[in-house]
Subunit: 347 residues, 2 copies
DNA sequence: TCCCCCGTCTACAACGATGTAGCCTGGCAC
DNA sequence: GTGCCAGGCTACATCGTTGTAGACGGGGGA
């Protein structure tokens, strides 16, 4: 069927290895030889067989990205960024969805696809405290997010505590005092939920506002739907918030929706701030104030660290922890936007 | 480093081929032998080297999914569905982002990754009329969407014309007469834009409403931002619409945002309907009426057809065209929702 | 003049699995 | 007792590439 190096070699009148050398850019080849080989490749429409190269070299040119779900916009946008960053480096990305299921996350770390990829960028959700050892694997891994902290592994993360504190301070500066949180994971300490809640508490404390347990809205999965549900519960339980800090944008948008369905005005009655800076938040009504956690920076840093690991002997790589820069994007869900000019309206 | 079949064979005291036979479920193996081999596999923590198997068998267990962009929610959700459907069949999905760039779409069809995958599910945007021949490739392909129609290729698609007609009829039934379209590609006939516009025109015609060119809002890329821009242009050019049919949900949400920023009430002043039924539309304010084009059905059908192609000789596979079922999801952007009970509000 | 080195190229053996062919053993029919 | 067959297993070649070692010819330094 498809042409192999053998066919090219015969047509060009050289050895197979010379074809290989041409393909791989080996320098010591006479120009005339190189031209003949390239002509033969062109004529036969030859394509390198990646599987064979993989077998021989042990490298695949593929890195895996394991995320909970692509239908969560943050992870879709993260995947987009990772694919772009990897493409620049000539790498292909294989996306694994773990569905936040522990068993699938374990599979990713130990699984059969290891031979198919040169490394893994891993954004765990289900694995947690006590699972640190599982990350000590013998292939390149970069961890995203906040779940685990073995120092032996590269780690790219957000400044969760600081950013959450800044988000809360933004609400406090607006005069809000009854600030609800949506997406709390009770008892969690090291995960994103725990850290962001800690930032929230720091800000309240600094402002001398007591923490009211009734304002803490639980939500296991961080979807739009769970954000709406948590918001509904807060309202029905009489928490009477004047602001909401949703621990991610998807929940913030769900909460925003729920507030408006119930006739509450945002931001006048309740201000809402999210976390992630997904594109969607720019187009909600009102648009969503949020924390930009530096997604692109996280993606490109993760790819860079992974490549460094891939290129160095395991022993000589010094694991790093990188914190991306963050910023608060102030939009209409906390600050009343300039009154719009009412345009021509049809009669 | 990692154990190979050779190591397992030595430990179990059998030949390499017997190990291979055990791994592949070959039936004629004594129970005691099988047990010994399995024990050895377990002890050595042996993992099959996929690259080697690929080289030998020519199969990889990977299928490629080529989409324009994961940051477009429809494609993120489609990818999610395809990954799930493929996983059920024991296949891994490699996602390629083409960024709607013609050159990247060509690469996907002819590119080097062919050796890495057993087939391709391809959602083209940039390729168009005249490119039909490019799809006659010698490996399994299933095409999604509306761009090209060679009968020689499997094709899973939406009922674009009918669904768009139904969407427009929904608006007409609500008494709207000046229905703007957002996302028009002037001159296009076979693409999603062309077909959906055709459905729109059919509906107007059937209702005896003349088509007003000024109501056709152009947008090349179908993002939230382009939807908002097209909406702004329509309003500024004095088109005075009383309804908007956005050709996808992302643009619909952009348009919705733009309308509200300008102080227009949705649906009272302008009704909005989208197309795609992305999750996000359930949580906008108001929630978005849209066309559900049967995304899950499309994904699972595409995977099924691809597997059929992979299993049969090229000659004996009869290409099919499958149209997914659609439905209209009526929500708050066209129909005023039941007035919400105003809950306890903080003083 | 001789030797070495450099540029250019080739032969051969691997990478780790699987397909093919065939060996051996025991049981059964004749 | 012989022949045959099926079950259970093995040896070997092979997939298409790349790493290693080394061949070869010509130019420059000793």
């Amino acid at each position: 069927m498809a042409a192999t190096m053998h066919d090219v070699a015969r047509l060009a009148g050289v050895s197979i290895k010379t074809v290989s050398n041409v393909v791989n850019g080996y320098p010591y080849i006479r120009e005339t030889t190189r031209a003949r080989v390239l002509a033969a490749i062109d004529e036969l429409d030859y394509q390198l067989n990646v599987a064979a190269r993989n077998l021989r070299t042990g490298r695949t040119g593929i890195i895996a990205l394991a995320v909970p779900e692509l239908s969560l916009p943050y992870f879709a946008e993260l995947a987009d960024s990772v694919i772009e960053a990897a493409d620049v480096q000539g790498l292909t990305v294989l996306i694994e969805q773990t569905g936040s299921r522990r068993e699938r996350e374990l599979e990713v770390l130990s699984g059969a696809r290891r031979h198919l990829t040169d490394g893994l960028i891993f954004s765990p959700l289900a694995l947690g405290a006590g699972d640190e050892d599982l990350l000590r694997v013998d292939f390149p891994v970069v961890v995203l997010g906040e779940r685990m902290f073995p120092d032996s592994v590269d780690h790219v993360t957000m400044q969760n505590v600081e950013a959450a504190r800044a988000a809360t301070e933004h609400l406090i500066a607006l005069g809000r005092r009854r600030i609800a949180v949506v997406g709390v994971h009770p008892g969690e300490v090291v995960g994103s939920a725990g850290l962001r809640l800690a930032g929230y508490q720091e800000a309240l404390e600094a402002a001398g506002i007591p923490v009211d347990e009734r304002l803490l809205g639980e939500a296991g999965l961080w979807h739009r739907a769970t954000g709406a549900e948590a918001m509904a519960r807060l309202l029905e339980d009489g928490a009477e918030p004047d602001a909401v800090f949703a621990l991610n944008d998807a929940m913030a948008l769900g909460a925003l929706h729920e507030l408006q369905v119930r006739g509450l005005r945002v931001p006048q009655d309740v201000a809402v701030i999210g976390f992630d800076a997904i594109d969607e938040g720019s187009y909600s009504n009102p648009s969503l104030t949020t924390v930009d956690p530096g997604r692109e920076q996280i993606a490109s840093t993760a790819v860079r660290l992974l490549i460094e690991q891939m290129r160095s002997r395991p022993a000589e790589h010094v694991p790093q922890r990188v914190y991306a820069d963050f910023s608060i994007l102030e939009r209409g869900s906390t600050v009343v936007e300039a009154p719009a000019v009412r345009p021509r309206v049809h009669a």
